[in-house]
């Protein structure tokens, strides 16, 4: 039996876990190819023009897999810890897939509510009918779940920038490559939420307590954690992302208060690389100028202090 996993959305976080889990069940796993222009173009025809870019890409991946596999593994994430919900479009992607495929392909869609184990176990039973094997496969796959226990180092004198964006945008090279390349070619280290420990991302203090979307809280907490360790914050928002449009406003305000440059890049399928590169370069120039200015102020303070002591 061949089961397909679309290389989009949740794949960028749970992909390796799923691959290992399904392989452990003795299933042929087919992962769709990396996102490219053609794949995106195929997806566009299947979804409303008002949804965000990652969903359009997802539609392309589903279409790509449809002819090749017997079943599609497409978990539906309703909520995770603290009853925080995923965004509506991600919850609804299974229904979009059903509409796209009619009955051509079977869809295995474990409904994740809080815990990963039970839904994956029942999905495994659906595919393999052997509880011992399912449990063993789950246990083996478990170590591939992304975990970070350590807070990364932030050495002084290093040029750093925070790239705040959903993991399914940053993880997809088709979307994030131009941004990452521009930053790294200017000698910046990119800090994202993916390298922060869960303890930081699940923080419930301050405004984070009021956020009811699981991935928005991650972004906001990552922003709060990184904002005073970097010389600029760049946020990637998919056009039409409801939760982002709101939480980004709070981040922008906070960055302004701390006098940290904040760049919001809105992306959709029409976004060209050149425009993004230009904007990032302008943003980096601003960040560097700001840093030079603060150093100058500190210098002059030192001098004044020195004179004061001398007198």
């Amino acid at each position: 039996m061949k089961v397909g996993i679309p290389r989009a959305l949740l794949y960028h976080r749970y992909g390796r876990f799923w691959e290992q889990f399904l392989a452990g069940l003795g299933i042929d796993v087919v992962v769709s190819r990396r996102t490219d222009k053609v794949l995106l173009q195929n997806g566009l025809g299947h979804v409303s023009s008002e949804v965000c870019l990652p969903i359009k890409i997802m539609a392309g991946h589903i279409e790509e897999l449809a002819g090749q596999v017997d079943a599609l593994f497409l978990p539906r994430l309703l909520w995770l810890e603290d009853k925080l919900y995923a965004c509506p479009k991600m919850i609804g992607i299974v229904d979009i897939a059903r509409m796209m495929l009619d009955d051509r392909v079977r869809i295995v869609a474990p409904k994740i509510q809080g815990s990963l184990w039970l839904p994956h176990f029942s999905a495994g039973m659906e595919l393999c009918h052997d509880p011992v094997r399912v449990v063993r496969a789950l246990a083996q796959a478990n170590r591939l779940l992304p975990t970070h226990a350590q807070i990364p180092d932030f050495p002084a004198g290093e040029k750093r920038v925070a790239l705040i964006g959903h993991f399914y945008n940053l993880g997809d090279d088709f979307i994030s490559r131009p941004m990452v390349d521009t930053f790294t070619s200017h000698g910046y280290r990119i800090c994202t939420q993916d390298e922060l420990p869960g303890k930081v991302l699940r923080n419930r203090d301050g405004f984070a307590r009021k956020i009811r979307w699981v991935y928005e809280r991650e972004l906001y907490n990552a922003f709060r954690f990184l904002v005073d360790k970097v010389s600029g914050v760049c946020m990637i928002v998919s056009m039409g992302c409801g939760p982002d449009s709101l939480v980004a406003e709070f981040m922008r305000e906070e960055a302004q208060q701390r006098d940290i440059p904040f760049l919001q890049l809105v992306i959709d399928e029409h976004t060209g690389t050149a425009g993004i590169v230009t904007r990032i370069e302008a943003f980096l120039e601003l960040a560097e100028r700001r840093q030079a200015r603060t150093f100058k102020i500190q210098d002059s303070r030192l001098q004044i202090g020195g004179q004061g002591r001398a007198a």
């Binding site: 509506p88 919850i91 009021k210 928002v237 039409g240 709101l246």
Partner: protein, 308 residues
Amino acid sequence: MKASFPNLGYDTYALKTFLEDLGAEVILAPPNSRRTIELGALHSPELICMPYKITLGNMLEALDLGADTLFMAAGARKCRFGYYHYLHERALKNLGKECRFIPVTQYSPLDFVFKVMPGIFGVPPWRVVRAIAKMLAKSRLTQEFRQQLNRKMAIDFSGAEQAKPKALSVIERAHTLREIQAARGEVRRAFNSNGAEPQIRLGLVGEIYFMIEQFASQEIEKELGRMGAEVVFEPVPAHSPPALFGPGFHALGASGAQLPAGVTGRGSDTYGRRGSLLSAAGTGRRRAHLPVHLHAGEHRARSAPEAI
């Protein structure tokens, strides 16, 4: 206290009654207009949804008219709507507008009656209960008004347009529960169509704000009425202001929904209503299942309803 709140279609009158009964002087925001949207959009984040822009415009216009206290519904958690008030409050502060901003979240009924409202207005709890009763009665009245109006428009458009202002002023003037009851009969008489039946009935479902606020939905009910179609909307509790105050009301509309819980703020609600409207609109007539999607936004053209 000169209280105001964002317009909410015909239910504006229900909320007005509620606040007046608690002893506030109510300053209604001017009816929604192009200016409201432009004013709101000017001070809004670029990517935020349309109701935010309109409600912010309402608030700014109401403050210009001298309001000093603003009420805003809050607390519907999975939808951006519940977060509006944080941004509203900040936007008003950044604009240098002096006012008291009171977000009304979904309190428990006991808290609402015994603590929150008495705390704001300094009235005993029984007055709050009375005000809620009046608001509910008035909300039912406006719903009746809307149903009758839609029906009349489909049969006799000019007649409906003539009767509308009078019926609205009757609704606005009704203060006691008895008067509200009497207004109901008057509304029915005003839109009496002598047993004539409209040719087409259309079911309308959608996001709560656009279902309530006529201007925001580009007065689609009126446009469709002009073309001879009666617009039917499901009178569920979720579509009246009490739902914005009371806890748990919003779940009632979701009965019969086949979507998984939590598809959006109101997605499963809308989906459930779609089913019951199909059966309501189809009684005794040919069932026409022809869904048409309309997106709302400040740049949308007025001609959208003609797509139907």
